[in-house]
Subunit: 427 residues, 2 copies
């Protein structure tokens, strides 16, 4: 089957650039439902496969300032579901702070509400600050991934425990359901005991789409077993190609083929008709970065106080950072390769928290994305607009049509469900 | 201040009558969002204060058959929020199986999404079958209420921890929030440790409305401390008056007055232009009840196998039933007073799970509701239509206009938020 390029829209705070909300006319709140509905409608007009909403489990003023106040993803996307009809709806939810029954149920509900467009971005919650909101001790990286594996298994069993056709609803006989098609799961593992079944019938997708973004060994193993879509952080095409090939090579061991997993590197596009205009936009964005916020974000990212280092000196030795491993290593790799100062690094973080910033003319951006796609560095992209709406419509207006002209991107949705649009097998 | 009558719509399964879904043209699914949106719009047209969605945490084919498959309330009501603009949106959520941070956050999110219309029906989850879905042992009644009191306190602290005006969003200076207005709560109690704050700013209502329905001593004590609205189960006006007076008398000890708590007895209206027509509707409904389902429901309600008793014999001695105390005692009281057989009792349960069935002409129903309201047996009613839509539109079409003519019920929403429409003090 021909490979098709897929596009996701990453929604977090007021946009991926830390200071994007200060741009003229920018959306300045992540609690503003009408603004969020406008963004979702624009993404659907542009035929994006999905929007996906990042999440954290603590108010974190150290990170991106607009992260500290935000709608909860499942409630947000249920509202978005009624304002859209085709675009996929991905919500982030944690396998460390939550339980499988509640989570499986909520995503099945979103899948029913949206007519088969729900996706779960399964995260282990790297930020240790979350623990105190749940009266827990933050489990370490290895344990979080062990829990996560078992959590996802239980969720999948729950989604599968309702067979198709369990609801009969025969008014004549009074038979409402066929009990033989609704089985408990009786899951008993190291971390979770879940009897089941859910109190919601099999959802339109059967199994909502599973998104994942772990870059570590454990994260990639989990992705190979369970994920339909993987988001990656990368700055470099060769690195991305190696990661892509490595991840796809893990699939056969789990009875899966390369078409069963869609790999989407994150990219923050800063795009305009000409390169000069694009550079000006990026400069305007970076001009809004204030030192305190940027250092706060860097400290959060590296889980240590970064304000004690010289901003214009070289990148200090930070030790191995467990909490944000994938982010940290991608950024540090690039920063060291390019002999950056700490100030350069924080500008990089401010821009897209370590994600790839792709700045240039519409042709250049389209060329680069095409090259990555054809080189098998990517099956598509997780688009992280620096701010809304202009920072996003620049992409939908200038880049999407170019990808369509080149036969890379759809001109109409292929299917009704997200699973269909992603070209995945029915579950 | 003049008392005003309030109306809530109870949404559970396909309607409150166990066999309502078998009526011609009835809604037969509680997973059908378009049908639910229609119901919500009809309730808003009729100027109801709120709709509230019951919930359980297990698939329970023994109870009302359509309970076993249902949308999750918070996702459902977030979708309903975008299709309505004034009606209150109450979701049931448990204090036994869940955590305060997650719950407080989700309801604050619904409050933002709906522009100040969120309400939380706080339940302790009486049904012991829920426990196995969470790998837990079901706590006993007393312990559930202790947990519940602490849970609600933590939730209220979380809602209050964000002061008004914490979000500044000053594009010129780059100040996004005022950290001094966002405090942790550092809650450490017998059951929960919650640091806080939430990652969502103070919501439009400040504090979403709290609904409660516990009838026991512990339940009433909790209501007096925290509830804005109480739902009751009652079959009898004098009983209802005594309960009403008793509950209101508990308020001053907590610095609250009678206007701070709205008491809404549940009523299943079966109404038509004439009494004869109404009786025919009820007979049609009861004609659809099948013995097995009714006995299953009765067994679930009394937490024991009821099929071992003679259906046409007197009500057996069932022992004290802890799990469904309020329901059980209301029903048994009536059944014994009226010398019912077990078959009569199951018809009563089938009709409205023990709630008050009010069957008659529109004038009779309006007169009776007026009488209960003026006698201080009720501040309004929790309307439990036997099925949808006709079983509900009979009420909105025939009864609501009569209540309006008599000056008892609003002709337009008074306010923007649920709290305003309920006549409650700002939080
Ligand atoms: C595009 C992208 C989005 C992410 N979104 C979230 C998120 O919303 N919430 C979260 O807790 N972690 C998020 N993460 C973090 C990952 O879930 C994961 O913790 C991180 O990539 C480190 O993975 P590793 O420990 O396997 O290296 C995201 C990562 C990426 C690449
Ligand atoms: C109108 C009404 C609706 C209720 N809805 C729910 C519900 O959705 N979920 C639930 O677990 N319990 C529900 N209950 C049960 C109550 O929360 C409570 O458990 C029950 O009334 C027994 O209270 P008690 O133990 O204080 O006597 C409801 C009760 C009433 C009266």
């Amino acid at each position: 089957m021909e490979r098709r390029l897929h596009l996701g829209l990453f929604l977090i705070g007021t946009g991926s650039h830390i200071s994007g909300w200060r741009m003229p006319g920018a959306v300045d709140s992540f609690e503003d439902l009408p603004a969020i509905l406008d963004i979702a409608r624009e993404a659907e007009r542009a035929l994006f496969d999905l929007i996906f909403v990042g999440d954290n489990l603590n108010a974190d003023p150290g990170a991106h300032p607009s992260y500290c106040s935000r709608l909860e993803p499942l409630t947000m996307l249920s509202a978005v579901a009624t304002a859209t009809s085709r675009i996929g709806l991905g919500a982030t939810a944690s396998t460390t702070y939550g339980d499988p029954w509640t989570l499986a149920r909520a995503f099945a509900s979103l899948d029913h509400i949206s007519g088969g467009r729900a996706a779960w971005n399964s995260v282990t919650t790297a930020n240790p600050q979350a623990a105190a909101n749940f009266g827990m001790v933050h489990p370490d990286h290895a344990r979080r991934y062990e829990m996560s594996g078992e959590f996802i298994e239980a969720v999948r069993k729950l989604w599968d425990a309702w067979a198709p056709g369990a609801l009969i609803r025969d008014t004549a006989s009074g038979r409402y359901f066929d009990a033989a098609k609704i089985a408990p799961i009786d899951h008993e593992g190291a971390f979770f005991r879940v009897k089941g079944p859910l109190n919601i019938s099999r959802s339109p997708q059967g199994r909502p789409v599973i998104l994942q973004a772990g870059g570590s060994e454990a994260g990639q193993d989990l992705a190979a077993r369970h994920a339909d879509v993987v988001f990656t952080v990368t700055q470099d095409k060769d690195e991305a190609r190696a990661f892509y090939a490595g991840l796809k090579a893990r699939l056969p061991a789990h009875g899966r083929g390369p078409g069963d997993l869609v790999v989407l590197p994150g990219v923050m596009p800063v795009v305009a008709e000409t390169e000069r205009q694009a550079r000006n936009k990026l400069a305007a964005l970076q001009g809004f970065v204030d030192e305190a916020t940027a250092l706060g974000m860097l400290s959060e990212r590296f889980n240590q106080d970064m304000s004690r280092f010289d901003l214009d000196g070289p990148i200090p030795d930070l030790g191995r950072n467990e909490a944000y491993h994938a982010f940290a290593s991608a950024m540090l790799g690039k920063a060291r390769r390019e002999n950056m100062t700490l100030r350069d690094l924080y500008n990089l973080v401010a821009a897209a928290r370590g994600h790839w910033v792709l700045c240039g003319s519409a042709d250049f951006v389209a060329d680069t994305l095409e090259d990555w796609f054809r080189s098998k560095a990517a099956d598509g992209f997780n688009v992280m607009p620096p701010w809304f709406m202009e920072g996003f419509t620049d992409f939908t207006r200038l880049v999407v049509p170019r990808l369509q002209e080149r036969g890379l991107f759809r001109k109409a949705y292929e299917g009704r469900t997200l699973r269909e649009n992603l070209g995945l097998r029915p579950a």
